[in-house]
């Protein structure tokens, strides 16, 4: 057998294009590293500082002027109450709006387009502005007072646009062939939506809702504004004064005593634990029920 007559050039080593590929890959890794290292440092630092106070006292005791016996029980409970109320308020309203916009709204009408644009913009409004709205309208206007319910309603307004957008994405991802198939069998529009579109969209809606919820639970500014900045030594009620976990952390970090700063770090660990659990749940739901068409 003689050697091939054609010069293939296969053995001449990497070409210039390959180096560019490596460079681009390096840049991508660098941008990943920025976020990853910052977050990692933060986590390690917080755990190191707060670990000493991360104990049963923190979870079960009310705040106190003595850091040795101070805990965040009312704040943790209030954060859990807020989460439950938020889900109860935002999911029905958000999913309802998304269904209307995706399945019923005639997009050639100006008011539907205006509604869409409005929701997109609301998602970008700073949370402090929602706080001001809540203070003026809910706390004073409606006379609700500085209560947990008012806080929950403000956070509802805050995350509603994101939940609507997430639910719309999930509903839009259900292929039209599914709707057509159901219509062709004589199903009504409501049957098509309730029995085909929504079940298929549930994983996406759940994931979006949980991620929005975890964002809302970490929110401090609007709650500060409506006066959740209080010394609360008793378990919260829906129509009572309250302080949420991020606000409690804020209060403790402002105290001069270093031990309170340690306490704040411990509370941050608790808050991160709650949020990471929620995010893990979202990822689990997404993987478990992901639809393949």
């Amino acid at each position: 057998m003689s050697a091939p007559a054609v010069a293939t050039g296969l053995g001449e080593g990497p070409t210039r294009g390959r180096w560019r590929g490596h460079l681009f890959r390096g840049l991508l890794l660098l941008s990943l590293a920025v976020g990853f290292i910052t977050l990692g440092t933060l986590l390690v630092d917080v755990v190191q500082r707060g670990f000493a106070y991360l104990d049963g006292v923190l979870l079960t005791s009310p705040p106190s002027s003595n850091p040795e016996i101070a805990g965040a029980r009312p704040a943790i409970l209030a954060t859990i109450y807020l989460g439950v109320l938020l889900i109860a308020f935002t999911v029905p309203i958000g999913v309802g709006t998304a269904i209307y916009l995706e399945e019923y709204a005639d997009k050639t009408r100006w008011y539907n387009r205006a509604l869409e644009l409005n929701i997109q913009n609301l998602a970008a409004v700073p949370s402090i502005v929602y706080g001001i709205l809540g203070l003026a309208f809910l706390v004073r206007g409606l006379g609700l007072g500085r209560v947990l319910l008012a806080g929950a309603l403000i956070l509802t307004l805050l995350v509603l646009p994101t939940i609507i957008i997430a639910a719309r994405e999930a509903i839009r991802a259900v292929p039209d062939s599914i709707r057509q198939g159901a219509y062709a069998l004589g199903a009504t529009q409501w049957q098509v939506i309730s029995r085909q579109v929504l079940p298929a969209a549930v994983p996406g809606i759940a994931t979006g809702s949980i991620l929005s919820l975890s964002r809302a639970l970490g929110e401090t500014a609007p709650l500060l504004l409506i006066g959740a900045l209080q010394y609360i030594a008793f378990d919260p009620t829906i129509l009572g004064a309250f302080t949420a976990l991020p606000v409690q952390i804020f209060i403790w970090t402002k105290l001069p005593n270093d031990e309170f700063k340690t306490l704040a770090a411990a509370a941050i660990i608790v808050l991160l634990g709650i949020l990471l659990t929620l995010n893990a749940l979202a990822i689990f739901l997404r993987n478990r029920y992901q639809k393949k068409w």
Binding site: R179, Q180, A182, Y183, A184, L185, G186, A187, T188
Partner: protein
């Protein structure tokens, strides 16, 4: 030895359906006077916005016939078949003019509910579109939304049997329909339609996404089903029309001066006539492969 026209021998080559077989099939069709009209279409025009996608169609669809619509892409055949179960209603810009009579009743009458229409007139789509549910739930969906839940298990089994799928899936009814092969999925979609006992089965290019073996199974199935159902099929595959259809309608595209394309019905006749002795030059060019 009889000499056959060139077009005919060419057709035999293309379709593999022999002329005498076609002629035999035509002899078995009931004479025109005895045919029962299921759909009477007159002066039908469908517009998307201002532009007619299909214009001026007149034809009758007969009971227990397989009727095929053939023609090049963009000739409006899919638009046309969607008029029979009012699927065009789902497209906001679509306007249907003219009349479609269903057993003598105006399908587009003011008091007619499209949901009621679709209960009686089932549809199978080009791409198999099983619901992301179990095989059983796919077939049971129609009966459930229509409240036909008495002896649902028997109903599901009967439909799967009619669609020649039962033997392949009887042991795994709880498995996802998406685990089936493409051909099985399409037969599942047919079973899904049959489960609600429709009067008519509309099929919009039901085999175009399938391999040849699955295609043959679907075609055999159509021969079986036409005893109980009236079948209308859209196909861009002429051989398929020749193999399964009793009547064939050929649609073509008319291009207007400003470049807009409108579908028109060129010729509608028995399948043997359309394929071996068409009355219109455009039909002949199409079926002999000189066009499209």
């Amino acid at each position: 030895m009889v000499t056959v026209p060139e077009a005919e021998t060419e057709f035999v080559k293309i379709t593999g359906v022999r002329n005498d077989a076609l002629a035999e099939r035509e002899r078995r069709l009931p004479p025109p006077a005895e045919r029962e009209v299921v759909f009477g279409v007159s002066g039908l025009t469908v517009r998307y916005g201002d532009h007619p996608a299909l214009a001026g169609v007149d034809l009758d669809i007969y009971k227990n016939f397989v009727t095929a619509f053939i023609g090049p892409s963009g000739c409006g055949k899919s638009t046309f078949i969607r008029c029979f179960n009012r699927m065009n209603d789902l497209i906001p810009s679509a306007v249907v003019e003219g009349s479609v009579q269903y057993h003598g009743e105006d399908l587009y009458g003011a008091t007619v509910d499209p949901v009621e229409v679709r209960k009686r007139i089932g549809m199978v789509f080009q791409k198999p579109n099983p619901f992301p549910k179990s095989i059983y739930d796919n077939v049971a969906f129609g009966p459930r939304v229509l409240g036909m839940t008495d002896s649902l298990d028997e109903r599901v089994e009967r439909a799967l049997n009619q669609a020649a799928l039962w033997d392949e899936v009887s042991g795994r009814l709880k498995e996802s329909a998406l685990s089936l092969s493409g051909g099985q999925q399409q037969r599942l979609c047919i079973a899904r339609c049959l489960a609600v006992e429709p009067d008519v089965l509309l099929m919009d290019e039901p085999a175009s996404a399938l391999d040849p073996i699955s295609t043959t199974r679907i075609e055999d199935l159509m021969h079986e089903l036409k005893r109980d159902y009236t079948i209308v099929i859209v196909t861009h595959n002429m051989q398929q029309a020749a193999r399964v259809a009793d009547m064939t309608a050929f649609f073509s595209v008319k291009v207007s001066e400003d470049g807009r394309r409108t579908g028109v019905l060129v010729e509608y006749d028995s399948t043997p006539k359309i394929f071996t002795n068409p009355g219109d030059k455009r039909t002949e060019d199409y079926v002999t492969g000189r066009f499209g």
